[in-house]
């Protein structure tokens, strides 16, 4: 699944209410591997950013850490093929996330 042309890659970012563990499990099923992690500060908030790669496809999961308001707002950013985007979209829709 990781092969193919770089020009087939599309960009998509999705905020999510779904637990990121579910998304991570789906990414592993799709053949992605965890490449690296880092702590990122953005918008005055701390995030744990995980990078999953599969060939030329890259998915970034940013999960907020620390004290946050009643709802966390994890962000999934995909630079990948349409079917990867669709697979993540399907997982999120199970948790009521409507991704355009």
């Amino acid at each position: 699944m990781g092969g193919g042309r770089k020009s087939d890659l599309r960009l998509k970012s999705m905020p999510s209410m779904a637990p990121l563990a579910i998304v991570e499990a789906r990414l592993l099923e799709l053949g992605f591997t965890l490449t690296s992690e880092a702590t990122v500060v953005s918008d005055n908030r701390f995030w744990r950013r995980k990078l999953y790669t599969n060939g030329c496809e890259v998915v970034t999961l940013s999960d907020e850490i620390g004290k946050f308001y009643h709802l966390k707002d994890p962000v999934i950013t995909i630079c990948g093929k349409e079917r990867t985007i669709q697979a993540i979209r399907n997982i999120l829709s199970l948790f009521g996330d409507k991704v355009s």
């Binding site: 770089k6 970012s13 690296s36 880092a38 990122v40 500060v41 990078l51 970034t60 962000v75």
Partner: protein
């Protein structure tokens, strides 16, 4: 020219909309390493502070942080003794074990309006036991086994927002307006 700050989601989605409309866009990326005291141990959320718990303790987030054991900060070449103040949010400049970070800024300009997304990536702490030569008195030095704190820079690919090849990314070091 107006400039708009975006979070990661907004920035990527704005770029996607441009790419979907078949426009090509140049994105400027600025990556700068800093150690200016912006981040100290008391700022860190508990999950992140756990990485320092071998050498530091505090009551809660935003409380004063103290050294749990004597340790040597290899990056700043500084020795801390047990119960030394490492970071105090009320007096941040005085006692400060600062955490270095990489500041990353992405921006693109479309029809005279600039959209930017900025974030900081913290260096990862690495704590090990090592033999260090310590100055005991003016004339005496002794070798002791001591905790050594070092900071590891984040890998390059974590600093990037991965974009399709139809986007051109230029690395820049400074923005100036003429």
């Amino acid at each position: 020219m107006p400039s708009y700050d975006c979070n990661e989601h907004q920035f990527v989605e704005n770029l996607r909309r441009i790419l979907d409309s078949k426009l090509r866009v140049i994105v400027n990326r600025m990556i700068v390493q800093r150690d200016d005291g912006k981040y100290g141990l008391s700022h860190l959320p508990d999950q992140e502070f756990k990485k320092y718990e071998v050498v530091a303790y505090r009551k809660h987030q935003r409380a004063t942080v103290y050294a749990k054991v004597p340790f040597y900060d290899e990056l700043h070449k500084r020795l801390y003794m047990q119960d030394d103040i490492l970071h105090s949010p009320k007096n941040p400049g005085r006692y400060h074990l600062s955490i270095p970070y990489v500041n990353v800024e992405y921006r693109f300009t479309l029809w005279g309006e600039t959209y930017r997304h900025e974030f900081d990536v913290l260096y990862e702490p690495q704590i090990r036991l090592d033999r260090k030569e310590i100055v005991a008195t003016k004339s005496e030095k002794k070798v002791a086994l001591i905790h050594v704190l070092n900071f590891i820079p984040p890998p390059q690919h974590v600093l990037e927002i991965h974009l399709p090849p139809s986007t051109i990314v230029f690395d820049v070091c400074r923005l100036s307006r003429v």
